[in-house]
Symmetry: D2
Subunit: 320 residues, 4 copies
């Protein structure tokens, strides 16, 4: 393979630029040519494609977002869209594709694979909800951003002896809530993967107060319910005057953390290693601290993301 | 005067601890005794009062919130509550009081003054909406916190070529929106102190897009309307798919900025200078870069806070 | 005047990009054309000049450094160099110049003025050592960066019950040390503008220790002496085992603070206001919270920068 | 075991407080009593020991440093010192000890173990140079702090088209340099574990310049040599005018990152799990993303820390 391309798709995640940089530089290092596709699969179908040189990825490793832009493009779910995309790739002489993104992006990569075009997926989403990897690009930055907010809210909660419900992103996954909750010393963490009992939540708040605890912080994954709904239901168990803070889009951006940049660099490097040996149909991940590549069809169809539920138990035993 | 006390009241603001520290240390330096009152006016009435020593304010200058705690206490609006407070102060032999807080706190200090008890107000609120001063403690930190969020949101907005409505705190004042908006390069800033025309907002977004601009950020002061309402109204003028981000309580906490700590230190120092000369009934401020003290009754009754509206014009001429 | 140019010169400072953006956008808003000159006066003489459009300054307000680059260029002190520069400006049809920088840059602007070419200076340096203004662009960011480091060092100093000497930038000015020192709760601040007595410094450290104080932080302006020299001299007065931390170039970069971006925007806007009325030979500043313009020759020849020495006294009375 | 104690020893590291909190809360959750020992082994021998309650570790998870203080205490290398320490522990009825720290601390724990007193080591140091674990508490925070500085320096380096040598901590280990270097997009990373050739370093800088690269950043582990020495040697190969930035003690402090807090919490929890089953003589670590406990004598005598040298190769292939 002598010419590859790269695109980012789905929600942006800090570290995507570091991955694009790694793919570009590693490919050039190995004598390949690299093309960047703007706006994800939409740009692929539209042919919004240009060659990337060494300097194009300079001064990018530290930037949030994705300089190749991203876009939703449901049309790529159709065979027609997919074939049009492959046509464009062939027009540019491109023989392999790196797709950075989340679940939907992986399905695009899988479709190309099924049509015989070698594609490699790199997991990039703040939600950490992709099978085949313990961690996705952007997750580490996101939990640190959430954590900063929790630390700020603790100041106010303590000053006013208040209870706060902090709703965090994560779609259907509780990873962000779990990690940021443990790190933030949350009194309770409510996630989709573990049932909870509102009466127990209320009991814990009361016990803390009776003991003289100044603040109470509850970290709630958006996949369970909204923060205001939670506060309403909690109010049925006592007069907690809980404040609600919804941490929305601010959590997606920002300069990536050290770990996200290193992970993104490793993933990008690995993607080129695979493609230059004509290996496609794979998705890259980190498992037990090792970079791995697994079959993308098998991973998407049979894989499942498992949050680290030991953190749930841990939190119950150290945060009260 | 040989013994003074200090309390924080109303919403917490970063830098309050730096002010408490300055009052405490300066008073001790000048040979006075200092007492800390917990939970604002509620604690005053309840007699939750203790002596502060040098070490009690050590390692506090950098902390957000207020280590004397704060509380709402509408009962202090009654003469009965006020007299009870003065009784407590006298019981502890306290001859003067420093009140750090916002509008409501100033009213408490004014009431004590009217009853003949020397009180000095220090403006502490992130909203910057206090008469008698150009800047309040906490405002500088708050605009930097908002700015960080705007910078993060820009990453996502640019990556997805999107419009964002960013609702920021400020109660009825537009200061946070103005400063953070100019600093964040907002395309438009919507504040209570200046009318706006939704059709012009929509026109500006369209022109930016037509020119190839990737992101559009609108910073909206909560005093105008909620972010979702704004997005709904904007939608009547075109299909902007604007995302809304509400920056809530996260903006109140956090370690204070350099400027807030310096300002708080100067305010605290000045308060002691005044009280030790038996001067009460005053509120402290910074005007044209100079520390001033004005009559608290006159300031509250006739003063008015004026946001820097030159920033509004400025933004229209440099942000498009 | 229909066509102006802008350059940055001397050490970079956070907020320079915000100023370039403001000049560019405001000029375009007012119907002027704007040219950017790369590498300061070196680029001016070499003719490294290009037109700036609206989009060239997009996504720049938040970036540290200067995207027009900067350079030392002592040759511009010669009349020959200056005339060559004016020749280049005329070749491009440029009628006025904005120079952002420190002391040396102002001298370049003054020289052009003396040759009859309208130039306006904007104070941009982290050192805050420019006459004609209370604050320079970059100073607020720099003191916050220094403050972050002081806060970190306090963790270690407290954990190990240690004394730290923290040497900070500022050339011959003590502003950074004064502001960051007060904000950081420094036990002592050593600046060129105020004499100090090592025996008193040592005495203060000992008294703190005897009282049980865990950490001792001394903030030292580089204009006084180096941190290691200071520690050596201090050691003559007792066995303090003081650690030295030199905060060097890290203090110059980084995303500008809210205040620096607002100040830079105001300065840039003002520069265009002046030039479009053919007013040159001026330097811009903020005095008593108001944007002002003063004669550049007079300011450089007769003006003097005065640090806020009230902070020195303040610190002695609140930090012990 | 019904009563355990905890101490921190050696250089402080962000996350130590989170570990102390986890040990304390988990122990109380499991019905044990916990004692905190101030000033490490020095405090142990001196009997500076006190009971820790739930509230003593509240509001601590986010703080840098160690609230139990730390100290160097070479006397604990003697049998006499060790027996004195055990005597103190027995006096307080303490049956097991958790030691958080680096290499030297582990040797203290090992000594206690050899004398028959159950001790468990938790790896806490920013240097990441402890055998038996892939990551130590504090390392993740430290690389993010270094990274922030690299990002700042890049602003200045780019603005002035300069080469910077950035010397980072790590004692004899290259981990901080490797991770922060890859994350920061360093042109070269110089570590003790891999030889380097100054001529090649110089060649790379020249090639970058010839290609138009604006900045060149070289991250140097202090274990190789000092930054100024490196710059001197580099100068023999060309006129690079390299600036040197030494990131010293600022890297040790600061609020711990999400990952460090989670890791610290897991380590602390595990330590109590072991001690309550009377298992001592162990050190805790994370290996391949799993929490493990290994024999402390064997680990110290036969174990060896291996930095992730794949990062070295990676960097050479993606950073140029």
């Amino acid at each position: 393979m002598k010419r590859i391309a790269i695109l980012t798709s789905g929600g942006d995640a800090p570290g995507m630029n570091a991955a694009i940089r790694a793919v570009t530089r590693k490919a050039i290092y190995d004598g390949l040519e690299v093309y960047g596709i703007n706006y994800g699969f939409a740009g692929l179908v539209a042919g919004d494609i240009r060659k990337l040189e060494i300097a194009d990825v300079g001064d990018k490793v530290q930037r949030g977002g994705t300089f190749l832009y991203s876009a939703r493009y449901p049309e790529f779910a159709t065979v027609e869209g997919q074939l049009k995309g492959i046509e464009q790739l062939k027009k540019f002489g491109i023989e392999g594709l790196v797709v950075i993104g989340g679940d939907g992006s992986y399905h695009g990569a899988m479709a190309l694979t099924k049509h015989g075009f070698p594609a490699v997926g790199i997991p990039g989403t703040i939600d950490n909800d992709i099978p085949g990897t313990d961690f996705t690009i952007g997750f580490d930055t996101a939990i640190n951003t959430v954590l900063e907010s929790i630390d700020r809210i603790r100041d106010t909660a303590t000053s006013h002896v208040r209870t706060f419900i902090i709703e965090v992103m994560g779609r259907n996954a509780g990873d962000i809530a779990l990690w940021a909750g443990v790190a933030g010393g949350a009194d309770d963490i409510i996630i989709p993967e573990h049932e909870f009992d509102m009466a127990s939540v209320a009991k814990k708040i009361k016990e803390g107060r009776d003991r003289g605890k100044k603040h109470c912080l509850i970290v709630l994954a958006e996949g369970v319910m909204g923060g205001n709904d939670f506060a309403d239901k909690l109010a049925e168990y006592g007069d907690f005057h809980a404040r609600v803070s919804v941490l929305g889009h601010v959590v997606r951006g920002g300069s990536p953390s050290a770990r996200d940049r290193v992970l993104a660099s490793k993933f990008g490097w690995k993607a080129v290693e695979l493609l230059k040996e004509n290996k496609g149909g794979l998705c890259i991940g980190i498992r037990d601290n090792e970079i791995v590549a697994t079959d993308i069809v098998d991973t998407l169809e049979n894989g499942k993301h498992h949050p680290d539920l030991s953190l749930y138990t841990l939190n119950q035993e150290i945060s009260f």
